[in-house]
């Protein structure tokens, strides 16, 4: 697995946009070390394009959260409850 860490590690300068987009999930997950998190946040403070990209990712997560879940069929659930009754009374 590469490469974003190899690319940014030890570099004193700020992050570029193409580097930042690879760190978004780690940032959302609270998984960056303090120094890298500070670099991400400094970059965002000065970059409208990446701020818009972050907005797109946040909205994407919201949209995906609204997709309904695909549940078992009613028939399958009824069979399971039937099996449970048999089991409980055996």
């Amino acid at each position: 697995m590469t490469t974003i860490w190899q690319r940014i590690r030890g570099k004193p300068r700020g992050l570029t946009c193409i580097e930042l987009v690879e760190l978004v999930t780690d940032w959302f997950e609270g998984n960056l070390d303090d120094e890298t998190r500070a670099r991400v946040e400094r970059h965002l403070a000065g970059c409208d394009a990446c701020t818009a990209y972050i907005d797109q990712m946040r909205v994407t997560i919201t949209v995906v959260g609204r997709i309904g879940v695909d549940d078992l069929s009613d028939a399958a659930k009824a069979e399971l409850l039937h099996a449970f009754r048999d089991w409980a009374h055996s």
């Binding site: 590469t2 193409i18 797109q56 990712m57 549940d71 659930k77 099996a83 409980a88 009374h89």
Partner: protein
């Protein structure tokens, strides 16, 4: 069934759920089937080819749960234990269908290599955006969360490789914690994050294409 992790503490209420199941409490069983059924279907679909077979596997797994609940010792969460039974059944079924790919190969195929979150052509040589993306949140909510947008997101998820699809579905559709996803799918923390990152990045791209395609 191996149950690991010495320091494990059961979630609040788990002992009561286990006791109710053992006592034959049907409402508890029905609630558990409602709660876990959708995720179980998703996970089963990683191993078998059709939804019908996946549903079958989920039913078999529940029968296995009933057969084993008397021996459940509470050293992992009930959820993790149930999903281990499920993945064992699903693997067996997948092997019978002879389409089973070793799990490690599935993970490697979906998590290894270099897969940029955003098409590199959208950046200039020094790594800055060629042109800035547009905020999604400036669009009306009726459009952002409208049926058609949700359909686009769903198709993008359906098109993902199996492991990426499983991780984004459990995390973002069904709202699981990363810890639960790692336990149930037996993933390292970094693989879980890579799979989620790639999945979300592709769904974002699909939404951007769709939302900007129609006069935003």
């Amino acid at each position: 069934m191996e149950e690991t992790t010495d320091s494990y503490t059961a979630p609040a209420g788990q002992d009561e759920v286990v006791a109710a199941l053992r006592a034959g409490d049907e409402a508890t069983f029905a609630a558990l089937v409602d709660e876990l059924g959708p995720s179980m279907l998703r996970v089963a679909l990683m191993y078998v080819s059709t939804r019908a077979i996946a549903e079958d596997v989920v039913q078999e797994a529940w029968l296995g749960v009933l057969a084993g609940i008397g021996r459940f010792e509470g050293r992992s969460s009930l959820k993790t234990w149930i999903f281990r039974i499920l993945t064992n059944r699903a693997k067996t079924r997948g092997e019978r269908e002879s389409r089973s790919i070793p799990f490690s190969a599935l993970v490697a195929a979906d998590a290894d290599g270099d897969e940029p979150a955003v098409d590199p052509d959208r950046f200039v040589v020094d790594g800055a955006w060629r042109s800035a993306p547009d905020m999604f949140s400036s669009l009306p909510e009726s459009r952002l969360l409208g049926k058609e947008t949700l359909r686009v997101a769903q198709s993008a998820i359906d098109a993902l490789p199996a492991m990426q699809r499983a991780v984004i579905t459990l995390r973002d559709v069904e709202g699981w914690s990363s810890e639960d996803v790692r336990n149930v799918l037996d993933l390292s923390e970094s693989n879980q994050r890579v799979l989620l990152h790639r999945a979300r990045s592709k769904v974002r791209q699909a939404l951007e294409t769709y939302l900007q395609g129609e006069g935003t």
